[in-house]
């Protein structure tokens, strides 16, 4: 047997994963300790839930919770259905070259860095001659308005990733047995009826799966875009937990505190994932975990 060769291949990935994935998991304990680098993880003083209590009583705690949940909830509700509708349309296109072009164009923004996307957003929203203000004939500085922040975040997110989100659905649709379409045609079904009676039922399990996965990361508001679009004046809606974790941990070097806040966030995520999975496995046969 030459299985040893296979284990040898696995050796490097396993070592790297232990060091950079599993040791940090062990390091989470600093959320319950007053971490001092000189004393190490296990040697630092145990403080119980002190850091969590401090976070819950922070003046901006309520605001951050609300902003994190609402930003991702609205984001999920707005951006979830769009790739489904889009892929139903694209899938029915019969001119294959045109279909390819549509896909190429819709995927494009996904390949651009958030930094560049946020640069574009800032240019388009500029109060003096930004594209949006030119079109509206106004001079509004949208990024200083806290009631515009969520719209900016979500709309740009849809623009960037709705097309890319189609891939998984298009792959599912391309698996549909073509005899189903022919049978529907013989029965005199219109294109719309074919979509509703053949495509939609075929997409449903995948859509539920995708919904569970997004719901499980409800508290995972991406740090990057929020941080790049945040200004002092829109903090009322742009202050989210992820940015706080970064500021406290990296900028202020409050390692234990930041870890506790991050752990709290992860814990809520896991709970959400289990709840949604429970509900959906009752509603259908899709079981994700």
């Amino acid at each position: 047997m030459d299985n040893w060769q296979l284990y040898l291949l696995l050796l490097i990935p396993v070592i790297i994963t232990v060091i950079y994935k599993y040791i940090p998991m062990y390091g989470i304990q600093i959320a319950f300790r007053d971490f001092k680098a000189t004393r190490g993880y296990a040697g630092s003083e145990f403080v119980g839930l002190e850091w969590f209590e401090r976070f819950f009583s922070a003046p901006t705690f309520g605001r951050m919770m609300k902003n994190t949940v609402l930003l991702s909830l609205y984001s999920l509700l707005w951006s979830f259905p769009i790739p489904i509708v889009l892929s139903l349309c694209i899938n029915q296109l019969r001119f294959h070259r045109y279909k390819r072009v549509v896909q190429t164009v819709l995927y494009a923004p996904h390949f651009i860095s958030t930094m560049v996307i946020c640069g574009m957003i800032r240019i388009f929203l500029s109060p003096s001659g930004g594209l949006i203000n030119l079109l509206l004939g106004s001079q509004v500085d949208f990024l200083t308005q806290s009631n515009a922040f969520r719209t900016i975040y979500i709309a740009s997110g849809i623009w960037q990733d709705a097309g890319w989100g189609c891939i998984i659905y298009l792959a599912t649709l391309s698996n549909i047995d073509t005899t189903l379409y022919e049978a529907a045609k013989v029965d005199g079904a219109s294109v719309f009826q074919r979509i509703m009676n053949v495509d939609v039922p075929a997409l449903l399990p995948m859509a539920i799966l995708m919904f569970i996965m997004s719901a499980g990361s409800l508290m995972n508001v991406g740090f990057e875009k929020v941080w790049l679009l945040q200004t002092d004046l829109n903090k009322a809606t742009s202050d989210v937990i992820a940015v706080y974790v970064y500021q406290q941990g990296i900028e202020n070097a409050k390692y234990s505190y930041s870890t506790a806040v991050g752990l709290f966030n992860t814990a809520i995520n896991l709970i959400l994932l289990f709840i949604v999975n429970k509900i959906s496995s009752k509603a259908s046969d899709v079981d994700f975990i």
């Binding site: 390091g27 694209i90 494009a108 860095s113 240019i123 001659g129």
Partner: protein
Amino acid sequence: MNSKKRGLSDKTSDIILVVICTIVMLIVAYPLYYVLVASFSNPYDVYAGKTFLLPSQFTLQGYTAVFADPNILSGYVNSIKYTVVGTIFSVVMLYITAYPLAQKDLPGRKFFSIFFLITMYFGGGLIPTFLVVKDTGLIDSMWALFLPGGVAVSNMIIVRNYFQNSIPRELIEASEIDGCSKLRTFVKIVIPLSKPILAVMVVFSMVAYWNDWFTALIYLTAEKAPLPLVLRNVLIRSSASASQAATISGGYAELQKLTEMIKFSSIIVAAAPMLIVYPFVQKYFEKGFMAGAVKG
């Protein structure tokens, strides 16, 4: 037959679908096109709304300024270096993990699968990971960009499933009967036959490294910053100084004009490489996802 048809005819539906898709396509493409046009225009004409369709006062000044800026240039060189090394590292990691896990008769296969899978759902978080990177001496080393990512597990599963489902069993068996070891079969048979998924994974890794700046923000000093992080000064911070610049005239106005031009051209310069690359492997995207969706 026709009398049974309800609703719109197929031809009308085709037209409606094409119209919808074209509108969506324009919405997605126009912002990029607008920036492209603006990058060849006088910025004041851009802000005056004269460049909706075509450049005004055509100029390449923005691009010459971008490539004359030492920070942007070094960012570009750094990004190319990180993308090349990172992509090679990540794809090798994916392959050497996926191949053993694709062997259904490998003892311990289940243990290793779960070992990797757990890291997909649970991790140490920002600070515990940061501390390990620091303790392993990677601060200010480019390896801090690659190693903490470990194995990209969701991509690894796609590759593993591809090995299991899309490479003909007979070829592997024939090679083993010929006396090839597992490793030799991997190099001689499996890798050459996995080109489509290899292409997809190379592009995914390239895009991830080319666009990443957060890891570099945490672990690297300014001289080692990749392009997107360098552009943070140009794209994100300049808006703060714009209001101050308005009060000063003359030479500063010219500088201000150049700052605006650099914004547009640097966006194009940063986005173009990946936008040029991905259409070449686009046809493999769906296949790759499909191979990954089939349970192995």
